[in-house]
């Protein structure tokens, strides 16, 4: 009896944690295991009720566990910013301030739930839930390891793009329903920004889809493992056969995906509203942007969702471009996939924080210029380039990967050379000129616009 129970328990855990769908059958529905589980244990119920029950339990576990990520990220942000700014950060609550976010959360829960009297009360309450739900639904399609994946949709990445763009609607609802001019400003900026930056994000992801020839997240991960898996090991390092390498990652597959990675990363910073693109909540301009009127737990929900978004976009970047949960050493998987993808993601999150605490904020027109005049054309160029690349190299070969690596390294070395060799030797004014690099023609334009403006006034 006990044995039977324990075996059933083992089966249960395996069902919960093991994604039974192999990458080769990537198109199969992710609901399979849930259906199997429901029919086995809740067979006495009509089929769909059991399925709904199972899914609800999974969702509950999910909602309980995933907020831990923002909890860690908030602490990390505070510690990283403190480190950059020559401070110590939170130190009082718990050892090394580890429980600070928890204490903040408790404080926010106990705060009075204020709703402005002129607010649209239903929408005001609804907006945080919408944003929260959408940010967390993204996690359902991100493969955290070979075994941890809620659902391997055949259109996984498409699902992620579509569900994360609903966040913009939540932001608009929050800003509008607050009935405050500053909130509305934040919401409008956010809407414009998120909608614009979804285009370069989508186009950059398209290059990866073209290379991987699948939209399934699991499939994309598997595609970053393919090049040398069948053949001989490239090198034997300390007795370990290194088969798949870092060069298999999408980012190094072709020069165009390399560019696409940076376009994606830049745009995703804008997508999650962080400096230098934090206009929707620009503190020095709009006080707090779309969540100016929110307090207590509703505010905390925005906050959690924001950090969940940060984590999600970085996890997607890691999955699409940096090999997902796969380590450098193929197949053997010394380190569990969960740790590997968390490592990659946290590295990207750290870069985002680094950028946030270093750079100033763009103005709204410059933000749009960057997107429409630079990122989107580059993205289209990437797609074209990827297509041509695919025409020449139908299968990934040593030649294609070597060539791509050569081009990328030349590109990086030349940029680093320009920056580090020449910049420091210039005179201050020339440094400014190089950094600004707007050009003399622009100066003339500035002067004329200024004259026109002042002419009108007089």
């Amino acid at each position: 009896m006990v044995q039977q129970l324990s075996s059933q328990f083992l089966h249960l855990t395996s069902l919960l944690s093991v994604e039974t769908v192999t990458p080769s059958e990537g198109s199969a529905s992710g609901g399979n295991w849930a259906q199997a589980f429901a029919s086995q244990f809740l067979g006495f119920l009509p089929g769909w009720i059991g399925l709904v029950l199972v899914m609800s339990v999974v969702a509950a576990v999910f909602v309980a566990v995933v907020p831990l990520v923002p909890l860690v990220l908030v602490l990390m942000e505070r510690k990283v910013s403190a480190w950059i700014q020559d401070r110590v950060g939170p130190m009082r609550v718990g050892p090394w301030g580890l429980l600070q976010t928890l204490a903040d959360g408790v404080k926010l829960i106990f705060k009075e739930d204020l709703i402005p009297p002129q607010a649209d009360k239903f929408l005001f309450r609804f907006a945080p839930y919408l944003i929260f739900t959408c940010s967390f639904a993204v996690f359902a399609a991100i493969p955290f390891s070979q075994r941890i994946l809620v659902s391997d949709l055949n259109i996984g990445i498409f699902y992620i793009i579509s569900i994360s763009s609903v966040v913009a609607i939540g932001v608009i609802i929050a800003g509008w329903s607050s009935n405050s001019k500053w909130s509305l400003f934040g919401a409008m900026r956010s809407a414009a920004q998120m909608v614009s930056y979804e285009i370069p994000i989508g186009l950059s992801i398209l290059t990866v889809i073209m290379m991987a020839q699948t939209m399934s997240m699991e499939g994309i991960v598997a595609a970053q493992n393919g090049a040398f898996a069948e053949g001989e090991p490239i090198i034997t390092l300390l007795g370990v056969e290194v088969k798949g390498t870092i060069l298999d990652w999408m980012i190094f597959r072709s020069p165009f995906t390399f560019l696409a990675f940076f376009v994606y990363f830049l745009s995703s910073i804008a997508e999650v509203n962080r400096t230098p693109f934090d206009l929707p909540e620009a503190e020095s301009e709009l006080v707090a942007g779309f969540h100016t009127e929110y307090s207590g737990m509703r505010f905390a929900v925005f906050f959690i969702a924001e950090y969940a978004n940060v984590f999600a976009v970085c996890a997607i970047a890691a999955t699409l471009f940096l090999g997902g949960w796969q380590g450098i050493i193929d197949e053997d998987q010394f380190v569990p996939g969960l740790l590997i993808i968390f490592g990659k993601t946290f590295l990207l999150v750290f870069v985002m924080m680094w950028i946030r605490w270093t750079l100033p904020r763009l103005r709204v027109d410059q933000l749009m210029n960057l997107c429409w005049k630079y990122l989107i054309p580059i993205s289209f160029f990437n797609i074209l380039g990827t297509g041509i690349w695919g025409l020449f190299f139908r299968e990934d070969s040593a030649l294609s990967i070597g060539l791509s690596f050569l081009i990328i390294s030349l590109f990086v070395v030349s940029i680093l050379g320009i920056v580090f060799n020449s910049f420091g030797k210039l005179k201050p004014a020339d440094q400014t000129a190089l950094a600004g690099n707007i050009g003399a023609a622009n100066l003339q334009k500035l002067k004329t616009t200024w004259n026109e403006r002042h002419g009108q006034q007089k």
Binding site: P276, S284, E285, P360, R361, Q366, T432, I438, A440, K447
Partner: protein
């Protein structure tokens, strides 16, 4: 009669045409980047500012009226509260005016040599502290948080020095009529030398971090150009005028105290065609402050190297009782020319005292500067003209 007077004093508020797309927003008096309690009434067309009207007076404390009922020495702490970021220079400006008034009195021997050196030391240290705050808050206005913390870290060291010097960190009441309140504590000059040795390379670091940052340049270069003619017509002085290219600094052009003994440059704005920098734009106004910190370090170094003369630190006086007359005296505070107009009837109290505030003049240009720009630019302008509301409202 009453109705008439209220009608004439009625302030004009912005009105909207019916069914217009524009909206009126009140920015401040409680707003993160209006540098105190400035209130701006903005008429906005989307992000474009059609009109920005500054409303001031939220920090009005009747300084000038108070001064009529206080003895000259008692007024000094009130000047601390004007520009509280650079209180030493405010003390100094006021004391200069009273001393000029008293110079007609043959019994007044003038400020002792040692006191002049101490004043220069305190004044220039405070200029650095003030410009550091301007640099830090400007970075924050543009959206970079880290420069603010760096600036405060270094400003803290100066405040610590001042605490050693006079016991106070913000409102010093250090410079008195006829001298200074107390002599140097032991080891103070070594501390100052240690600070400037530490601080001088930091300026280049800050320039690398913020001044030459591409985004910062995009945000400030060519924005809100206040050219020389406009600056002079509004009476803007200090870095705002020098940023427009006019080499005008009272420390050089009308040297007071002992500034003629030191060798230093007057940084002015420069056109950098490659970057698009225009004379009198936000970037140049900001850059002048960064360069001025270097010059202040230079002056402090000369004070330390030259050695301070021994002697009294305050002129021997029975009472501060300037002869009847009037005087207008100005000095170069970090934010521009700070003027004091004093009318004396020979008693211990002034009959009339008027302060000419550089920030007030600079703020008055805001309305013209901001027309047609964006909300984010308004913030950039307020930061670049570097106002302190305590001095504007007095």
């Amino acid at each position: 009669m009453l109705a008439q007077s209220t009608a004439s004093e009625e302030r004009k508020f912005l009105e909207l045409k019916p069914f217009s797309d524009e909206m009126v927003v009140s920015m401040g008096p409680q707003h993160p980047s209006t540098h105190g309690v400035l209130r701006l009434e903005l008429r906005l067309d989307g992000e474009i500012v059609r009109e920005a009207i500054p409303h001031i007076g939220y920090l009005h404390r009747c300084f000038e009226k108070h001064a009529e009922n206080l003895s000259y020495q008692q007024i000094v702490p009130f000047t601390d509260r004007m520009d509280y970021i650079a209180a030493m220079n405010q003390n100094w400006g006021f004391c200069l005016a009273v001393e000029e008034l008293m110079s007609a009195d043959p019994k007044f021997a003038g400020v002792p040599e040692r006191a002049e050196y101490l004043r220069v030391l305190a004044g220039e240290l405070n200029r650095i502290a003030s410009h550091l705050l301007a640099f830090g808050t400007y970075g924050m206005d543009i959206g970079a948080f880290t420069p603010f913390l760096y600036a405060f870290r270094d400003r803290e060291k100066i405040l610590f020095l001042f605490e050693k010097l006079c016991g106070a960190r913000l409102t010093y009441n250090y410079i008195r009529v006829g001298g200074v309140s107390r002599d140097l504590p032991p080891g103070f000059l070594d501390d100052v030398r240690e600070f400037i040795d530490y601080f001088e390379p930091k300026i280049d670091e800050y320039n690398a971090l913020l001044t030459n940052n591409k985004i910062f340049l995009e945000r400030t270069i060519g924005v809100a150009i206040m050219d020389e003619a406009m600056a002079i017509s509004y009476g803007a002085t200090g870095p705002n005028l020098r940023g427009a290219g006019r080499k005008w600094d009272l420390r050089k052009d009308e040297p007071y105290s002992i500034y003629d003994r030191f060798d230093f440059d007057i940084p002015v704005g420069e056109e950098i065609p490659g970057a698009g920098a225009v004379l009198g734009d936000c970037w140049n106004r900001y850059k002048v402050r960064m360069d001025e910190m270097k010059e202040s370090v230079k002056i402090i170094r000369q004070v330390l190297d030259g050695g301070l003369p021994d002697g009294p630190i305050v002129a021997a006086m029975k009472a501060i009782r300037p002869p009847a007359g009037e005087v207008f005296s100005r000095s170069e505070a970090p934010r521009g020319e700070l003027g004091f107009y004093i009318v004396s009837d020979g008693s211990v109290k002034p009959v009339r005292l008027k302060a000419k505030s550089p920030c007030f003049c600079a703020l008055s240009a805001l309305q013209e500067l901001s027309r047609g720009l964006m909300i984010a630019d308004i913030i950039a302008i307020i930061g670049s003209i570097d106002i302190v509301m305590g001095e504007v409202d007095r």
